[in-house]
Subunit: 209 residues, 2 copies
């Protein structure tokens, strides 16, 4: 069996170097490189074969969730394993939805990493212990998932978070302030909150802002 061509994508050089060393002794892995951003790995896989990618969510250019999708678009056979610090249920789910084969937190043990890699290349989906708990029994912080927001809603949410009133937002977007009020109302309803204070709080917790 040929060695798995493996790439690491993480914005922390130290993590990349660390993972490289940790994995260089693995019998069935062949490291092809470490990448600090999304475009680097995308351009690499367009011309080179990569069997396995260890992918971080937080990257300087592209969001890891979308990057996952783009990787699978270019190379459907490449197995993507997420290695992230984000503990939000919705983020985990989105990555799997976008074709990832597993999700580990960075505080996973090295054994867990090894195990998940071997499961993932077998075609199974694999989570680290802690992630398994997050997706199984939703605890206090992970009760509600992120509501689906429309483009306009996201735009207006950001402007509200910047402290702008409906009047001002209306002027900026060339819309009636009454329209902004409607969006405001819909945002509050979608998030199931009582007012903007709670709205902004919830949205930031869910990484929307």
């Amino acid at each position: 069996m040929a060695k798995l061509l493996t790439a690491i994508v993480d914005d922390h050089p130290i993590v990349i170097e660390g993972l490289k060393v940790l994995l260089q002794n693995e019998e069935n892995l062949q490291l092809v490189g470490g990448f600090c951003n999304g475009s680097a790995i995308l351009s690499y896989i367009s011309t080179n074969q990569v069997d396995l990618i260890l992918l971080d969510i937080t990257l300087p250019d592209i969001n890891g969730i979308e990057l996952c999708q783009q990787i699978k678009d270019i190379s459907i056979a490449t197995v993507v394993l997420i290695l992230s610090n984000h503990t939000e249920r919705s983020i985990i789910m989105q990555t799997i939805q976008n074709g990832a084969s597993g999700y580990l937190l960075k505080n996973s043990s090295v054994d867990e990493l090894r195990h998940c890699i071997s499961e993932a290349v077998k075609g199974n989906i694999c989570y680290s212990k802690e992630v398994m708990e997050i997706i199984s029994r939703p605890s206090k912080n992970h009760i509600q998932d992120m509501p689906r927001l429309t483009r306009r809603e996201k735009e207006i949410l950001a402007l509200i978070a910047a402290g702008k009133t409906s009047q001002v937002i209306g002027q900026e977007l060339f819309l009636s302030p009454l329209t902004i009020d409607t969006h405001r109302k819909n945002l509050i309803q979608k998030f199931g909150v009582k007012n903007v204070a709670e709205l902004i709080m919830t949205a930031t917790q869910q990484q929307i802002l």
Copy 2:
């Protein structure tokens, strides 16, 4: 010259392992261990000599900023170098105030890490390039430091973030709603924002909520 006895404190095993390997070839360093939490390193240094500690801010038990102080209380000669992801000016300043000899972001290059270690053990304070920029020319996100909030203000800020109105907060704290309005006003003024939306946004960005 004897080798520097060096410890790594980070809640990510992968980072610990990575740093270990990266530093094991350094001539003048002798790694004494990796620690996943604050109490582990504290109990270690009470009975063992440690010359240099690479310290993360986010830890499962104790906050790294306070841990830094506690380390220096036990062993004033131990050099502490912060290795963190937090880019908030106030956090950086607090660690230095608490006795740290330098601050690096985790996306620093390995060379920068080496350089900062050598500077720190010489007795100098050393920052990575990016951190230097944060503390030198405060950019958009780091303009204002965290204002000093009183106990009451923090308490009320949290209740506002939970979506409660002044009426409700007043009832809960057995205070006049007018008093809550005053605190609300003071919070908005202290943070230099226009309304609660921006207040909550700013407060979360500065890790106060």
